[in-house]
Amino acid sequence: MSRLTKLRTYWPLLLALAGSAPLLAQAPAPLLPGTPAPAATPVPNPDAPIEITGGTSSVIPIAIPDMPTPHMTDTLAGSTDVLGHEVAQVITTDLRNSGLFTPTGTSLPSVSMPQVTAPDFAYWSSNSTSKLVEGFVLANAANSLTIGCYLYDVPSKSELARQGYKVAAQDWRRAAHKCADVIYARLTGEGAYFDSRIVYIAESGPKAHRIKRLAIMDQDGANHHFLTNGQTLVLTPHVSPDHRSIVYMSYLGQRGRIYTYDIASGKQRLVVDSPNLTFAPRISPHNTWVLFSQSIAGETNIYRIPFAGGTPEALTATTGINTGGSYSPDGSKIVFESDRSGGQQLYVMNADGSDQHRISFGAGRYATPAWSPRGDLIAFTHLGAGHFRIGVMTPAGSGEHLLTNSWQDEGPSWSPNGRVLTFARLTQNSGKSEIMAIDYTGANERHIVTPLDGSDPAWGGLLP
C-alpha cells in the first residue's frame, strides 16, 4: 500500500482560495468534549460486576456536503466528481458509526469550489447547522489525488481544522478516513481511529466443521481481503505494530502452531519450532517480542520469543493454564489470564514475568484481557451464568463494568484510540458468529458487516 503523505506542497488553486494559510493540520484542541469521563471511581474487589446503562448522550450535529472537484477527471478510482460524493459518504459513515456525531441530511446543497474555503455561513446558520465539513477532490498527474478537508464552526464562522492528502487514486478511502479522523479528534478530544484496519477470522460452513480463513478489512468493512484459502484451520490473528505482518495460529500439517503472515508478500513463517501445542500469539509494542502460550505435558504457560527469532523464554511457570496476554502501551507490563487459583482470572505481570498479581476478583470467570492503547483500561470477556459478556476494568482491577448482554460475546480488541471495542458475537445453537463493535461506555453497539461470518477480530493501530 502506498503511503499517504500530508500535502505540504504548493498548490496554486488552493492557495489562491485559502489565502496565505498553509495547508497543514491545526493542533487538535477539543471543542465539544461531549464524552463521558473514562473509568468510574475505583471500587476495590467488587463482589459482582457493575452494570452500565445508557452511554453518551451528547452527540454533535454535523453537515458533510458532497465535495466539489475543480476539474472533472477520470481516475483509476472513478471520476473526481463521483469521488467527491463518495469521500463525503465515507466521512459521514465514520462519524455516524462513532456514535458521537449525527450527520445531518442526505440531500445537502452542492458546494462550489470557492465555497470550500469561504462557506456560505448564512445558509448553514439558517439550516441550524453547527459544524460543517467541506473539501474537494482534485486529480493530479500520474493518477494521484489531492483531497482537501476543512472543518468549520458555523455559529462563530470560523475554521477549526484543515488538511490535505495526496494519495494514489485507489487509496482515496484512506484520505476520507484521515479527514474524518481530523474532525473526530478536533471535536471530541479523542485520538483518531478511522484510518485503521481489522484482521479477523472469516467463517463459513457447518458448525461441526467450520471453514476458517484469515481476512483483513478497513475498520468500516471496506477493502476486504481473504488472506488464506480455508484449507487449514486458522485462529486468533493479531496485527503487528508496524502493520507489515499478522501473527496467528494455524493447524498446518495437523499441528497447532503459530506463524507470521507477511501482508505484502503472503509469505508465512513458523515462529516457534516446538513439538508442543503453541498458540495465542501477540506482538509487543515496537515489534520486539512475540508473546505466546505453550502446553507441555498438559500445563500451559506464557512465553516470549524475539520477533526476529531466537529462544523462547518462559514468563509464567505454574501448573494449570496460563494463556492470552496483552502488553501495556509502553510494553512494560502484560495482562494475562490464569486458572492457577481455580477458574480463569486476570493477572498482571512485568514484561519479564516478575511481580505476577491477580487483578480480577468478581463473581464468575475472566478471560481474554486486552490492554487499552490509552493505558487506562483492560477489556475482557466475563464468563458467568452461562453467558460471555464484554467488560472493562482498570489495570488495578477497579471500576469494573460489563458492556454487553448477549449469549456469547468474546475476545474484545481495542480501536487505536482506546475508545471502541470490537468483539465476536456467537449465536446459540447455530454457531453463527459476527463481528461487533461497541463504545467503551457501553453505548453504540453495532454490527460490522462482513462477507461471511466472523470471529477473533483484532484491531490494528493507526496506519502509518
Binding site: K207, A208, H209, L235, S293, S295, T323, F388, E410, G431
Partner: protein
C-alpha cells in the same frame, strides 16, 4: 406354499412320463422353488468378513469406545473413561506398530484460547493413562482443537457433554 407343492407334483409327473419312454441324457434342473432347492444351497456361504486386524476399523470394533468424556472445565478421567482407555491400551499393546493421535476437545462454553489449553490437557490425561498402561509414549501424539470441532451440534447440556472429549485416532 400350495403353489410350490403343485409345481413339485407336476414336475414329478413329467419326469415319470419321461422315464416311461426312454432315459433322459441329463437330469432336468430342479424346479425353481422346489423343496430342498433354496438359494442358500447354490450360493457359497460368505467368507467370514471383518476389519483387517490392526486397522482403524478393527480398533473401532474392538475397543469400548474411541473417546472418553470429561466434566465441565475438568480433565480428570472417571471410571468409565479409564475402562474405555483400558480397552484401547489392550488393543494398542496387541498392535505395537500402530501410532495414535489423541484429539482433545471442549464444549463451546469456554473462551477460544483457554479451550485450546484445556483440550490439550484432556488429550494429555488420556495419553498419560495409556502410557501408564504400557503403551510406548513415542507412539502417541496429542493435538487440541479446543471448541473448534464439536462432535454434536446444539447449545445444550447433552451436546456439551458429548463435546468435552478426548478421541483416540489410529494412524495407519
Amino acid at each position: 406354499m400350495k403353489k410350490l407343492v403343485l409345481i413339485a407334483v407336476a414336475a414329478s409327473a413329467l419326469s415319470l412320463v419321461a422315464c416311461s419312454k426312454k432315459p433322459p441324457k441329463d437330469l432336468p434342473p430342479p424346479p425353481v422353488g422346489a423343496p430342498g432347492a433354496n438359494s442358500s444351497a447354490t450360493v457359497p456361504p460368505p467368507m467370514p468378513q471383518g476389519p483387517v486386524p490392526g486397522s482403524r476399523d478393527d480398533f473401532l470394533a474392538k475397543v469400548a469406545a474411541d473417546r472418553v468424556f470429561f466434566d465441565t472445565n475438568r480433565s480428570d478421567l472417571d471410571e468409565t473413561a479409564r475402562s474405555t482407555l483400558d480397552s484401547q491400551a489392550k488393543w494398542l499393546l496387541q498392535y505395537p506398530a500402530v501410532r495414535i493421535t489423541i484429539e482433545g476437545h471442549c464444549d463451546e462454553r469456554g473462551t477460544r484460547e483457554y479451550n485450546l489449553a484445556l483440550g490439550e490437557r484432556r488429550a494429555n490425561a488420556a495419553k498419560n493413562y495409556l502410557v501408564a498402561a504400557g503403551v510406548n509414549v513415542a507412539r502417541i501424539n496429542t493435538i487440541s482443537y479446543g471448541k473448534e470441532r464439536p462432535a454434536v451440534l446444539g447449545s445444550n447440556e447433552a451436546a456439551w457433554a458429548k463435546n468435552r472429549r478426548a478421541v483416540t485416532v489410529t494412524l495407519n
